[in-house]
Symmetry: C2
């Protein structure tokens, strides 16, 4: 089976052109089919401030009201996405920016209201794997932002890590999928302040042990949850590490079943 690289970059990298451009060079140089997923960065909060849109956080998650959704659709699907696509085109990577609404790429449902109403936040319902396969077959590299839709006119804010995992799951029958979550650290660390504490390999058994020992920081738990979810659905490997891991031989955390 053909290998497929799905790479996700976080907001902190997006905001620093000195880090973003070398990363995009590395992504453009990756051989074979590839997909980029990006978060939004911290500018959403800065712009919301300037525009007088109150930022509401509940349990560490942004509540997305109509004004916030409009703002982040502009930032993520517009500013960030088109800047990345234009840079990749300049690097001879035939990039195509996508929100979930474009060609119905990613359909979602509004997160059910339980204790908290997160507003216009969508949980992924279906990834249009035929569309992604079609694009990859044309040697086009999709660049996906974290905006989805309900196929009924409504856009949603959706977690970029989850979108990455869902795209991987949807394509696992057709490709040997490797997901790379790139962020500011070298990978999953035992001690976030000790760069020698990188955990280079995690599998299902060692993951249970790490959970029991309380070794993993709270911020890393959703990423690992997404990782095992994707692996159980047929994704071959999930890598968590620095941006340059995608095309340099450096240590990172490799997660397999």
């Amino acid at each position: 089976m053909l290998k497929l690289n799905i790479v996700k970059i976080g907001g902190a990298i997006i905001e620093q052109e000195a880090k973003l451009l070398p990363f995009l060079q590395g992504f453009a140089a990756l051989k074979g089919p590839k997909i980029l997923v990006h978060g939004g960065g911290k500018r959403a909060t800065a712009w919301a401030d300037k525009l007088g849109i109150p930022v509401q956080m509940k349990d560490g998650r942004r509540v997305t009201d109509a004004a916030t959704l409009e703002l982040i659709t502009g930032l993520y699907a517009g500013q960030v996405n088109k800047s990345i696509v234009a840079h990749l085109q300049g690097m001879n990577c035939n990039a195509l920016g996508l929100s979930g609404a474009d060609a119905n790429a990613i359909q979602a449902v509004k997160r059910p209201v339980k204790a908290i109403d997160y507003g216009f936040v969508g949980d992924v319902k279906q990834v249009n794997n035929r569309w992604f396969k079609h694009l990859l077959g044309q040697n086009i590299s999709p660049v996906c932002c974290a905006i989805t839709h309900d196929k009924n006119g409504q856009l949603f804010n959706t977690n970029a890590d989850t979108i990455t995992a869902e795209i991987g799951k949807a394509l696992a029958q057709d490709f040997e999928v490797k997901i790379s979550y790139c962020f500011e650290l070298p990978g999953v660390m035992k001690d976030i302040n000790d760069s020698n504490s990188l955990i280079e390999k995690i599998n299902q058994a060692s993951y249970q042990q790490l959970l029991l020992n309380n070794t993993i920081s709270a911020g890393m738990l959703p990423k690992l949850h997404n990782a095992f979810d994707a692996l159980q659905a047929g994704v071959k490997e999930v890598a968590i590490g620095a941006t340059n891991m995608i095309n340099q031989t450096i240590p990172y955390t490799s997660i397999t079943l």
Copy 2:
């Protein structure tokens, strides 16, 4: 030859959901291949005010500095484009939003600095007609915003009327192209305040006469210039009129050679 409808809507319609939704219903109902091009609307000025980005106009055109380009990329390629795409998807039209950077759809060059430097304003150099043909062949309807790129990492602000004409010209060898410029008036008027003064037909000879008689308002001249430019390159008909002309039998201005 297969007919291709290329429809452009202006900013005033985009800002009014009560007008935008019926228009999009009409567009979604159009049979056969179709492309939508949209302007940005007046919100660019409102947002620039709120964000403290000074609006500079020279000769009635916005000067696009880096901050303005970033803002309008968010507004046009993000907010407006994705809202339109999501609505069309809800109407069972398989819409795909595009900036010029996406799959290198529309390449441009920075407008040469003569008396005025318009900043990051691009003049269309090449429309990727293979890509548009490919999408139309997949029954996908491109929704194009007025952002282009130079294939070297730089985005540009570009006039939406011109983009519409350039797409039409690029596809005139493969389709029988009809361009419809939809706006707030019933078409080209002899007297803008007299709805009975609609000019229903213009050809090259009568256009020269209208120019000699000073019948055409200054704001309409670039549209007519674009229209004849497109017709001379093989576009079959250019229509100028109200939004509902695309699928209702109402009077409009029909321009042919």
